[in-house]
């Protein structure tokens, strides 16, 4: 009797247990991710990956942040006062970068992450719909080209020198995707020479320009909404040729960009109008699109985080010093200062500078980066005009326009009278470039091209003068990378 009862109970329990048991109990899938193998199987997946690569390029490690800021801070001779608490940036101001600097590592790691994604895209073009194939290939090569340009500009053992062999260490060139089967010995790469990296950049950007043209991508300002166009490829090529001191090609590429945008008339009416815009303006060649849910401006690497000192935005870490203003003539619209404690956000600031409010009030701040979700100007028409002027001047040519016309176009927009050709020399072009493009990430590259010195503005070595090619103006290869990969050599001085 008792036994029967037990069997009944047990049966009930066993029945209950069977309900809970199933063969694939342990097979569950993530809900916010897909397996890598599934990504590159079809057109949609490949284009998704291409878009994903843009999202990395748009991050704070590049044009929305440290591509701009690292350049200006490493080459800062005191025009900016870095007063923030981030030790990494303070060290950069001191020209005493640390090999463990997380922001430097972020640039390195994320550049190669984007490169791996575009390498995958390029490896799987066969599944892309034919109508889109040239565009996808062109955009992928564009992204790879500009990522290698960022890498080689900051991490090369020493900068490219026009006419030299440039056999010095550049960065590793990785042109094929990392397979899902994992890391092999082949992934322990060594550094390619600077010339090899520049050659690859030229190949990629040149090919991108051709492919995007063939794909029928428009050439006007913002014609592809923050993505690659034949014009943006040409603009980056102009930068590359300037680095390489190939003046004729630099002038030609810049001229093409200027013509595509419609010449001087495309410049905004005032200097201030070029910045903090949510939409493309007529003078924007390439911008990083940002919006309220997708921006680097709220991150610790975002450019506005340091430059702004407004209500609820910005750490106010970069004060503009009086020595900066010594570069300007009287009446230059690019020196206008808004001193009004009632400003709240950058839309209330008509000047190119303002007296900061918020976190660290009372200091002179630049208005260029004042809105966390505004688009980030990467290449403006003004840069291309100045590039054409410089390249033509150095080359003794007038491709597109004589240098004096270019310089006067920029001066005119700044509210200044024209110069005469007799007043124009290379230094004047250099100064105009500084006045127009300061705090937009050009300083390190311009210092190198003009063979200038950098004076350490603060820290234990304050006052020390470093020549343009000094190792302390080069970023270290991240220590983690050196530790992981014995085939990599560290830059001199680290």
């Amino acid at each position: 009797m008792k036994t029967n009862k037990i069997i009944t109970y047990i049966s009930v329990l066993l029945l209950a247990a069977v309900v809970f048991s199933c063969e694939d109990f342990l097979d569950i899938n993530p809900q916010q991710a897909v397996d890598a193998e599934q990504v590159y199987n079809d057109h949609n997946g490949v284009t998704n990956a291409l878009n994903g690569a843009y999202s990395i390029v748009a991050g704070g490690n590049f044009y929305a942040g440290t591509s701009i800021f690292h350049s200006d801070l490493v080459a800062n001779s005191g025009e900016m006062n870095w007063i923030g608490t981030f030790i990494q940036y303070r060290q950069m101001d001191w020209k005493a970068m640390d090999t463990n600097d997380g922001f430097i590592a972020g640039k390195w790691n994320q550049a190669y992450r984007a490169i791996d994604i575009v390498n995958n895209v390029l490896d799987n073009l066969d599944v892309v719909q034919e109508a889109h194939r040239a565009r996808v290939e062109g955009e992928a090569k564009f992204l790879r080209g500009i990522m290698y340009l960022e890498l080689v500009r900051f991490f090369a053992a020493s900068p490219y020198v026009g006419g030299a062999a440039n056999n010095q260490d550049g960065v590793p060139l990785v042109l094929s995707p990392t397979p899902t089967s994992g890391i092999t010995d082949a992934h322990y790469v060594s550094r390619a020479s600077v010339s090899a990296v520049y050659d690859q950049i030229l190949t990629d950007l040149g090919s991108a320009k051709t492919l995007l043209t063939a794909a029928g991508i428009g050439t006007g300002a913002g014609s592809n909404g923050g993505r690659a166009t034949p014009t943006t490829a040409a603009a980056f090529l102009a930068r590359v040729y300037m680095d390489m001191e190939n003046w004729p090609n630099a002038a030609a590429e810049a001229n093409e960009v200027i013509n595509n945008l419609g010449g001087y008339g495309a410049l905004n009416d005032t200097p201030r109008e070029a910045f903090n815009n949510d939409e493309y303006t007529s003078e924007d060649v390439f911008m990083i699109n940002q919006n309220v849910t997708s921006n680097a401006g709220q991150a610790n690497a975002g450019i506005g985080t340091f430059f702004a000192s407004l209500e609820g935005y910005g750490r106010g870490d970069v004060h503009i010093s009086t020595s900066h203003f010594e570069h300007f003539e009287e009446g230059d619209l690019r020196t206008t200062l808004t001193d009004d404690p009632s400003i709240i956000d950058i839309s209330n600031v008509p000047g190119m500078y303002y007296i900061g409010i918020g976190t660290d009030p009372g200091n002179v701040m630049s208005s260029k980066w004042g809105k966390f979700d505004a688009n980030i100007n990467v290449i403006r028409l003004a840069e291309m005009i100045l590039t054409r002027a410089e390249a033509n001047f150095r080359n003794g040519t007038a491709a597109g326009a004589p240098p004096i016309a270019d310089i006067n176009a920029i001066r005119n927009r700044a509210g200044l009278g024209p110069l005469t050709p007799a007043n124009l020399d290379l230094q004047e072009i250099r100064d105009e470039r500084y006045r127009e493009l300061c705090f937009e990430g050009h300083q390190l590259h311009d210092v190198r091209r003009f063979r200038e010195n950098v004076t350490v503005p603060s820290g234990a070595d304050a006052g020390t003068v470093l020549p343009w090619n000094h190792p302390r103006l080069v970023l270290p290869i991240p220590q983690r990378e050196i530790d992981v990969n014995s085939n990599l050599t560290q830059n001199p001085g680290y």
Binding site: I10, A16, V18, S21, N51, Y54, I56, D116
Partner: protein, 1014 residues
């Protein structure tokens, strides 16, 4: 799975009913000391799972075989075995047990007499936890359980607590133990929003409901939990009813608290003095950077608003003098009320409890409250079937403040110069022009509220299939619903210009189903066998959703419905599964040889498809020497049990989909896409830890002196490691089974009964030594900040520039230039990185004395930790000689270089230029300490007085926590080890031990309470 069920069925019938000749035995159990009857004594039939409990009058009745042996056990009494020998009435007297060697301990899937254990388990009883007024119970383990090291991260309430059982056994997977409450593994991971300190889901359990806590330390004890046992298993058993009249217990406590330590920062006079010095040290030299300032007061005017007296701006002796440390650290308080009722009949027993606690932290703006209710019910249906339920429902609320690294965290107020006022002298409003954000503004306008509803419990049924065989089934749930919402006011830096709002919901559901058979049999009085076989299924589903918004009409509108712009929104889900089979055999041979074999096979969804299952066996043996003839009834050596164990345990606490190569969604300003996330690791399998333990339990002088000594070697192989790969591949890490780690250590426990008359004095001492070493990493170096994991070193050593002290000639900070340490440099950048410290302690333990006389009881508990270093990261700005305007510590002021020949710790202060500014071993300090952790003085009113009021008992008590701390550590709290924001179980938290970044000290608490038994 199905096969196992069939197997169970087969086993069931093999086990078929065996009923011998039965008689009914009854009797009364009394205390030998005073003759009082003892309710609730467990009366078990040896070698079977049969048994009963004495009723309110100490009476029991039981049907047993004529030749059976009854075993009487009761907490605090010596165990007695009485052969039935055909008698119908057996009255038993129990002796008080001095050393509690006969106590029952809870092991996984069952209980066992402590003296029969062959593994290593530490236990805490309810009286050790009673009156604990910290939000979660783990902090009570520190100093009371040998080998368990607890670091309450900070004085922030409800924050995750770092718990290490016998050291760290993993680098990338969690090092936190598995928590099992009443048989159910529960959610103990941080579920709080990123960007703030991780939270502690264990704070949802009312410590007052805990009957016992067992820490399974060695492999023999823990391996029954297989793949999740490498970090030890902490088993919490809640209180249950006993037959007898209803007992109502009421405890009410009230207390206040203050910071256990204050560091001391410069007052106005000191600030101005040091600043003037620092300025003049920098000015005038070749590196003169100060073209914009004419003198030091000009620099202060430039840098600091309102530092002068508004009425008399030229008189520098007058003006603001704010003690910002006192603004950040306030007097806290606590209230706690507990009421519980327990009792029942032979058939039905219950424990019902309600608890309310309300605590204010010593940190401004931080408080915690919890309401918790519990019903534990046991019902006996028949001799065959019983069932029951444990159900806990709690609501905890945590009013949080910003994370330690945010300017908005209260403790960062100490960075503000004392010469800046709290309030704007012109408006009388809070000063918004402090050099960094004024934390009082944040406190005034911000809130970060977390509310958690937690329901854990289980339903269980038990079948007595035969006198020897039982089947038990437990279905458990652990449901956690968490809501967090935050508002940052328009006048705060992060909330400007028009307010910032955040709202987040988390739902965590963990279900489990455990089924197991227990078979007990005695064979020919030679072998007692206790056999376990079972299965376990567990699955967890988690959902998260959150949104942020900006632009609120005013600070009265704090919810996202009023936000003009939703700036982000997200929803996600994850989960994991376990499918397990386990077995164990406990054997006792010839009354003196003990053996335990156990094994578990675990399958987890987290691993590669080919390596889903792992197998975790263990074995142990012990010899009850004192049961042998030559030592039995020996007064001097009253108990002696050497024991050894070996076993394999696992660790699977990694990301839920760690084995997969995944792409996640991306957003480029509205353009959707995917980005690479991880490389696949299809062969990923369990991290396995082999642990060998040798120990001895002893009792001398009739158990007046008892103790345990253990030595263990824990070797972890196939570490689940985030292996570093070249970033040029597009990835920086891949999960692989690479590397080995080792923990070796000694544990000593010594308990003595010093006096045992009218005056009773017991002493308990424990100390544990653990040596952690990473033995193999396949050449990897894992860095996280200044922490490193390197072969041949303990986990997370500090690897940075070594401070060589001050050059007495000129006050320069010097650093060692090279690894050898024979050359120095003033350039921090040029100095070599070296191993400069170790956050892992050499040894730690506790020392408790309890005294009892008449109605008085006094308990004094010290805890100590020796040899761990802390990286006082905040000192980079608090003792940097004014590299900016941050206020400085008083010890910097007193111990910095002033003139040639000075031998000081800190260099010459140099405004703005810095002198030694940066991260170096200057910031690393030995944090060894001894702390008077817990002092309790109680008085129990005499019975005659109490009974006149119709009460059972009345006790009043005073309790103090963290009353005294002896340490050389110059920061707030030498116990600090703030977890990484990413969570307590993450690689970053594993490696970054001993991190003090404006981390709040623990409170010093004084509590008064009264306990009534009705």
């Amino acid at each position: 799975m199905k096969r196992i069920l069939i197997l169970m069925g087969v086993l069931l019938f093999l086990g078929g009913p065996i009923f011998g000749q039965q008689i009914r035995v009854s009797g009364t159990v009394t205390s030998a000391e005073d003759g009082s009857t003892l309710p609730g004594v467990t009366v078990a039939v040896q070698g079977t799972t049969l048994g009963t409990i004495t009723d309110a009058e100490g009476h029991y009745e039981l049907d047993v075989a004529r030749d059976a042996t009854l075993v009487f056990t009761f907490i605090g009494m010596q165990r007695r075995e009485v052969p039935v020998e055909g008698r119908a009435v057996i009255n038993v007297e129990l002796q008080r047990d001095l050393a509690l060697l006969d106590e029952v301990v809870v092991v996984g899937y069952g209980t066992r007499l402590k003296y029969e254990l062959s593994g290593s388990i530490s236990s805490l009883r309810s009286e050790d936890i009673a009156g604990h007024t910290m939000p979660s119970f783990e902090t009570a383990l520190h100093g009371r359980t040998a080998g368990v090291h607890i670091s309450a991260g900070s004085g922030k309430l409800g924050q995750a607590v770092r718990t290490r059982v016998r050291g760290s056994s993993s680098i990338s997977a969690s090092n936190q133990p598995l928590y099992v409450i009443d048989g159910i593994p529960v959610q103990s991971d941080n579920l709080g929003a990123g960007g703030n300190e991780p939270t502690n889901p264990l704070a949802d359990l009312n410590p007052g409901d805990i009957e016992s806590i067992e820490v399974l330390k060695d492999a023999s004890a823990a391996a029954i939990y297989g793949s999740r046992a490498s970090n030890g298993v902490i088993i919490i058993t809640t209180k249950r009813g006993r037959p007898g009249a209803t007992r109502i217990n009421v405890t009410s406590q009230y207390g206040f608290s203050e910071a256990s330590n204050k560091v001391g920062y410069l007052n106005r006079e000191q600030y101005l003095d040091l600043f003037r010095t620092a300025y003049s040290n920098s000015a005038g030299g070749p590196e003169e950077p100060f073209v914009i300032w004419s003198d030091w007061t000009d620099a202060l005017d430039w840098g600091l608003a309102y530092w002068r007296d508004p009425d008399n701006p030229t008189d520098l002796t007058q003006g603001p003098d704010t003690n910002w440390e006192d603004q950040a650290l306030r007097q806290g308080g606590s209230r706690q009320f507990d009421i519980n009722a327990s009792g029942g009949s032979e058939e039905t027993q219950y424990y019902v409890a309600l608890s309310y606690t309300d605590q204010e932290a010593v940190i401004v703006g931080n408080s915690f409250d919890r309401v918790s209710g519990r019903i534990n019910l046991d019902q006996k249906v028949s001799d065959v079937l019983s069932f029951g339920m444990n159900m806990n429902l709690s609501r905890s609320r945590n009013f949080r403040v910003a994370n330690d690294r945010a300017f908005a965290t209260p403790l960062q107020m100490i960075a503000l110069p004392s010469v800046q006022p709290t309030h704007d002298p012109h408006t009388g409003e809070l000063n918004r022009r402090t050099v960094y954000e004024n934390g009082l503004v944040v406190r005034e306008y911000n809130n970060f509220d977390t509310e958690i509803f937690r329901n854990f419990g289980n339903l269980f049924a038990s079948l007595q299939i035969t006198p020897n065989l039982t089947f038990r089934s437990e279905a458990g749930i652990d449901i956690l619903r968490q809501h967090e919402w935050e508002y940052q006011g328009r006048l705060t830096n992060d909330g400007g210009p028009a307010g910032f709002g955040f709202d987040r919901n988390v739902s965590s559901r963990v279900y489990s189903l455990e089924n197991y058979f227990t078979y007990q049999q005695e064979f020919a009085e030679v072998l007692e066998l206790d056999f376990l076989l079972g299965t376990s299924l567990q699955y967890a589903d988690l959902d998260f959703s959150s949104a942020t918004g900006r632009g609120f009409p005013s600070d009265e509108f704090r919810r996202l419905a009023s936000a003009a712009e939703i700036t982000s929104a997200s929803a996600s889900a994850t989960g994991y599964r376990y499918n397990s089979f386990f077995t164990r055999a406990n054997m006792k041979l010839l009354d003196s040889y003990l053996f335990t074999l156990s094994a578990r096979a675990d399958g987890s969804s987290r691993f590669g498809a080919d390596n889903r299952y792992g197998f975790f066996p263990s074995a142990s043996a012990a010899w009850l020497v004192t049961e042998e003839d030559f030592l039995s009834d020996n007064y001097y050596i009253s108990f002696l049990k050497p024991r050894v164990s070996w076993g394999l345990t696992g660790n699977s606490e990694i990301d839920n989909f760690a084995a997969r190569g995944l792409y996640t969604g991306s957003n480029y300003a509205g353009l959707w896409g995917v980005v690479s996330g991880s490389l696949p690791s299809e062969d990923l399998r369990w991290e396995s830890t082999t642990q060998v333990n040798a120990g001895i339990d002893f009792g001398f002088f009739n158990d007046r002196v008892t103790g345990e000594i253990d030595y263990y070697i824990k070797k972890t192989e196939d570490l689940l490691l985030n292996v570093q790969v070249p970033a040029t591949s597009g990835y920086t890490t891949v999960y692989q089974n690479v590397g080995n780690m080792e923990n070796k250590g000694w544990e000593f426990v010594l308990n003595t009964v010093n006096f045992d008359r009218a005056f009773r004095w017991n002493t308990s001492f424990n100390i544990a030594f653990n040596q952690n070493k990473v033995t193999d990493l396949d050449g990897q170096i894992i860095s996280s900040g200044i922490w490193r994991v390197m072969e041949g070193q303990p986990i997370g050593v500090f690897y940075t520039k070594e401070y060589a002290g001050v050059d007495p000639a000129n006050g320069n900070a010097l650093f060692y230039l090279n690894e050898e340490g024979d050359e120095t440099t003033t350039s921090l950048a040029a100095a070599a990185n070296r191993i400069v410290g170790d956050p892992n302690p050499d040894f730690w333990g506790g020392f408790t004395n309890t005294f009892r006389y008449g109605g008085f009881d006094l308990s004094v508990m010290f805890q100590f930790v020796y040899g761990h270093d802390i990286y006082n990261h905040g000192r980079q700005w608090q003792a940097d000689g004014f590299s900016w305007f941050d206020n400085q510590t008083v010890d910097f002021y007193e111990d910095h270089w002033r003139q040639p020949g000075d031998d000081t710790y800190y260099p010459q202060p140099r405004f703005f230029l810095g002198n030694g500014y940066g991260v170096s071993s200057m910031l690393i300090f030995d944090a060894s300490y001894i702390r008077l952790k817990d002092l309790t003085l109680g008085y129990t009113l005499p019975d005659e007085l109490v009974s006149r009021a119709n009460l059972q008992n009345v006790r009043i008590f005073l309790r103090g926590y963290n009353l005294l701390t002896f340490t050389d550590y110059p920061g707030w709290d030498p116990e600090t080890s703030a977890p990484d924001q990413a969570g307590i179980g993450t690689q970053a938290s594993n490696i970054r031990q001993g991190w003090d970044f404006y981390t709040a000290p623990q409170p010093r608490t004084f509590t008064f309470g009264i306990n009534l038994g009705i």
